[in-house]
């Protein structure tokens, strides 16, 4: 790693001993929860409860409790679904693709990013379930032998591709995350005093003893999983985009969608990682490990992907005009000037214009600025999905069916609930598991000292 010297001071402040690393990262897990944490957890849990109540009411009463109608059959439900799936992409991207690219700066943030992925995908998975008219028959979308023929499922339906892609993505991400934690779990097992904690960590660490053979297999496994996760992460959002791309609805029926969605996913994912890390490093006092250098690196990714997304928006507009399909033109004209124009311009502002600020180093290195921008990115990406889904549906081919969509409190509550679920899980995660990969940091530290020795 030629850039290691240049990176070292930024990636790891001071040169902590291996013991220090263990201590500083593992300490929060033994300490009593801070007030800050408790406050956040309370808020998150309340939001989750609210969402759960709303969802229960909806399932008991009917989809009619939402603002949908004969013309707009999807809105908040699928918007939230795509939004969370998008969030779920940064984790794997950071840990897999950056691993393959040997980007050392990922080590400090990969664990939390992967955790975020898992939780985001869990939130995402809720919505396809909830949006069904008869969720209690959700299992019908799996091709299991049944008494109806057996009648299998429709392998031509993008919705089915979705289900398979997302469950695959979830499984692989979970394995990747867990495998990555085993050595650290062993560390916790060996240092914790409480017996019950030791029992739990003992079970989870699967008898890890850090022998050389295991380590070398372990690194191969990580590389392989990374290698698998990389095409996976690309395929998942491409497939999600096919829900729309393969349809006939103007504004959906677009071949640009797969790359467009992947770029968007990475963009939103990094936005969310940024938000979380800026919070976490404060709340958990990990400034030493999550440094401005990390944030700046992510800011650069934001700038890149944001510009990619913006480029897709403009391409869409151009093709709508250049393609000369009257329905297509009407659809995009309606997006920019119709009743939902406010949503469209919110999206444009947050996703295309705001990230351009990141060209300035001053912005990239100002933590508060980055925090605000990351929040705006999340907002913008949510609206991107809303714009794609609702404004395309509400005015399609036959003007006789043109209609408007307005969300109900139930829908809003369920959206809030999904955030509640996400943060509840994340907060539990930071309290119970090492959110920074100790063994990787140790490796990094060792490497640093080694190359220091070589220099001397």
């Amino acid at each position: 790693m030629t850039d290691l010297l240049e990176l070292r001071p930024a990636l790891l402040e001071g040169s902590p001993t291996l013991r220090q690393i263990t201590e500083e990262i593992a300490r929060p897990l033994d300490a009593r929860p801070t007030l800050g944490w408790l406050a956040c957890f309370l808020a998150a849990a309340t939001a989750l409860g609210l969402g759960a109540a709303a969802a229960t009411y909806e399932v008991m009463t009917g989809i009619g409790t939402w603002g949908l109608n004969k013309t707009v059959g999807w809105a908040f439900d699928i918007t939230n679904f795509v939004f969370w799936i998008g969030i779920g992409h940064a984790g794997t991207l950071i840990s897999a693709i950056l691993l393959l690219l040997r980007q050392k700066w990922r080590t400090a943030i990969s664990r939390s990013a992967e955790g975020m992925t898992i939780f985001a995908v869990m939130c995402a998975g809720l919505f396809p379930l909830l949006h069904m008219g008869r969720p209690w028959f959700a299992f019908w979308i799996f091709p299991y032998p049944n008494g109806r023929g057996p009648l299998w499922v429709n392998f031509r339906s993008p919705l089915l591709w979705d289900v398979v892609a997302i469950s695959t993505y979830f499984t692989i991400s979970l394995v990747f995350w867990y495998v990555g934690m085993i050595p650290d779990l062993a560390t916790l097992r060996d240092r914790t005093e409480k017996r019950w904690k030791r029992r739990i960590y003992g079970l989870l660490s699967l008898g890890w003893d850090g022998s050389r053979k295991t380590w070398s297999r372990y690194e191969t496994l990580s590389l392989i999983l990374a290698g698998l996760a990389t095409p996976l992460v690309v395929s998942v959002h491409s497939i999600v985009s096919m829900d729309f791309a393969t349809s006939v609805i103007p504004g959906w029926h677009a071949t640009i969608f797969p790359p467009y969605f992947v770029a968007g996913a990475v963009f939103s994912g990094f936005g969310m990682v940024m938000t979380l890390l800026i919070l976490t490093r404060k709340v958990m006092a990990l400034e030493r490990y999550i440094t401005p250098r990390h944030l700046e690196a992510m800011a650069k990714v934001l700038l890149l992907t944001g510009s990619l997304v913006g480029f897709c928006y403009l391409t869409e507009l151009f093709i709508a005009w250049y393609g000369g399909n009257p329905f297509e033109r009407a659809a995009f004209w309606n997006r920019a000037t119709g009743p939902y124009a406010w949503a469209y311009w919110t999206m444009m502002t947050c996703n295309l214009f705001v990230p351009q600020l990141l060209w300035s180093k001053r912005v990239r290195t100002s933590v508060p600025a980055l925090f605000v921008i990351s929040l705006l990115v999340n907002v913008g990406m949510w609206f991107e999905r809303f714009v794609i889904i609702v404004t395309s549906l509400h005015r399609d081919f036959l003007p006789s069916s043109w209609w408007m969509y307005k969300p109900t409190v139930i829908e809003v509550a369920i959206l809030i609930g999904s955030f509640g679920l996400f943060f509840t899980l994340f907060l539990l995660f930071v309290r119970t598991l090492p959110i920074i990969s100790m063994w990787e940091i140790k490796g990094l530290a060792a490497e640093a000292s080694r190359s220091a020795a070589e220099k001397a």
Binding site: W161, V164, V175, T187, G210, S211, R212, R217, L228, A229
Partner: protein, 171 residues
Amino acid sequence: MGREALVATFAREAGLLAAIHAARQSGHAVGEVFAPYPVHGLDEALDAPPSRLPWITLAGGMAGLVAAAVFQAWAAVIDWPLNVGGKPANSALAFLPITFEATVLLGGLATAGAFFWRSRLGPRAVPRRLAAGVTDDVLALVLPLGSIGDEEALRELLAAAGAREIRKEVW
């Protein structure tokens, strides 16, 4: 395998590597190395063969690919062909995404499974504890005492390499 061995612990990987080098120079086999992180260049120092896990991945992936492709085709073409959107019963293109996902899924799970199995990792597995702190900040080297091996020489060799403590253990 109840044989006796010397267990030396190190604070820095430089010492460990030096000790391994010296030991192998003097014809001693290296039993095992325990470390809190993957030590860079250890495999090379022991010229250990590369892992064969990638082959498992390939096998699992292939299995997933074939299974998915065949099942979709069978269900949609042979078992119960239906006219869906006027498309042909064998809409092969539409079957690709699921086939791909199945490939990745089985490839990944097979590899992980194989890893756990080969490394004897599991909820019931008991870690070998030859030296304390190998999951924290200690690197441990295990040198089995061969019949010809004379213990003193080894101890000196290890001490020279900067071992913190040297104990005799049974493993």
